[in-house]
């Protein structure tokens, strides 16, 4: 049976070697909080009830961010009221 992406064992194939130029860019862990907030992700435990869309709007308003989006929701709550978890990207 096909293996899901997150279970695939990977090995690295090398084409060429090169030193990173220290004058440009920086490793993700060295980013300042400002830089992190400019392009970061939040694994958000969405409360039951409000839609992901609503939650995104709240985050925008509460934190004053310009761009917030989400990537991962399910159908809108029907009947028994289901609880999908969504994740948010704040850009």
């Amino acid at each position: 049976m096909r293996v899901p992406q997150w279970l695939v064992k990977r090995e690295v194939l090398i084409r060429d070697e090169e030193e990173a130029d220290p004058r440009f860019g920086k490793p993700p862990e060295q980013r300042t909080v400002e830089e992190l907030l400019e392009l970061g992700v939040v694994n958000l435990d969405k409360p039951v009830g409000p839609s992901s869309h609503e939650v995104v709007a709240w985050i925008k308003r509460m934190l004053g961010f310009e761009k917030v989006a989400h990537g991962g929701t399910l159908e809108p709550p029907v009947g028994g009221g289901e609880t999908p978890r969504s994740r948010g990207y704040c850009l």
Partner: protein
């Protein structure tokens, strides 16, 4: 899953087992996609708990599998009928219910701690670098000199590649990284990983989403003309 009739454990397990592997599903009436029968893979179904007609299942499935439909279909095969009572997404791509899972309260608190008191620890725990979102994708690491071109939407050509994670098949979604481990873009592979390291020329990855801001790295791709002038 809520069963509409009584079924013994053995029969239940037997039917659930049948649903592992590829299954046919037609999206429900109220759905965002075209209602054509399609195939989705169920990697595994685990029965976590059972209390009479209530059954708690953990399902590992392919994106686009309808859980409501799955419950309904299991009920049909059992002959008693069933429906989905509650649903929680426990993982999607690289996101799971791990230590990074945060509530809205966590997020707002962490933000204010940082904003008002300059405490960084909390916000750093909640807001993760974008790279976290593509942990599950195979990586293609490129030369610093190729970065800005990709930021401007260019496709990744073979000479710009330093190393790749194998296996990559044609059509796979891959993440393009710098040597420093920064995410540049997400794209679709036009070659297999072996070809990416052996080919002399050609397009290796079609850039789909640019993540890094152009200008982060110098625009070497403009060539000597600009450097001279």
């Amino acid at each position: 899953m809520r069963l509409h009739g009584d079924v013994d454990d053995e029969r239940l397990m037997e039917v659930i087992k049948e649903f592992e592997g590829p299954i046919y599903q037609r999206p429900p009436l109220r759905s965002a996609v075209k209602r054509a029968v399609r195939i989705r893979r169920i990697y595994k179904i685990e029965v976590l708990e059972r209390e009479g007609r209530n059954v708690l299942l953990r399902v590992w499935c392919e994106a686009g599998t309808y859980m409501r439909k799955l419950c309904h279909d299991i009920g049909e095969v059992l002959g008693v009928g069933a429906h989905m009572q509650e649903l929680r997404r426990t993982r999607v791509g690289s996101f799971s219910e791990d230590k990074h899972l945060a509530t809205l309260h966590d997020l707002v608190d962490a933000y204010y701690f940082w904003r008002e008191e300059g405490i960084e620890d909390y916000i750093r725990k909640v807001v993760l670098p974008v790279e976290y979102a593509v942990r599950h994708l195979p990586k293609v690491v490129i030369r610093d000199s190729a970065v800005d071109a990709i930021c401007h939407g260019a496709y990744l050509a073979v000479p710009g590649i330093l190393r790749v994670e194998s296996p990559i098949k044609v059509g796979d979604t891959v993440a393009i990284f710098t040597l420093k481990g920064e995410l540049v873009a997400i794209g679709r592979a036009k070659m297999r990983s072996e070809q990416m390291v052996s080919a002399m020329r050609g397009i290796a990855v079609e850039t789909k989403h640019v993540i890094m801001r152009p200008g982060t790295y110098p625009p070497m791709w403009r060539g000597t003309r600009k450097a001279a002038g």
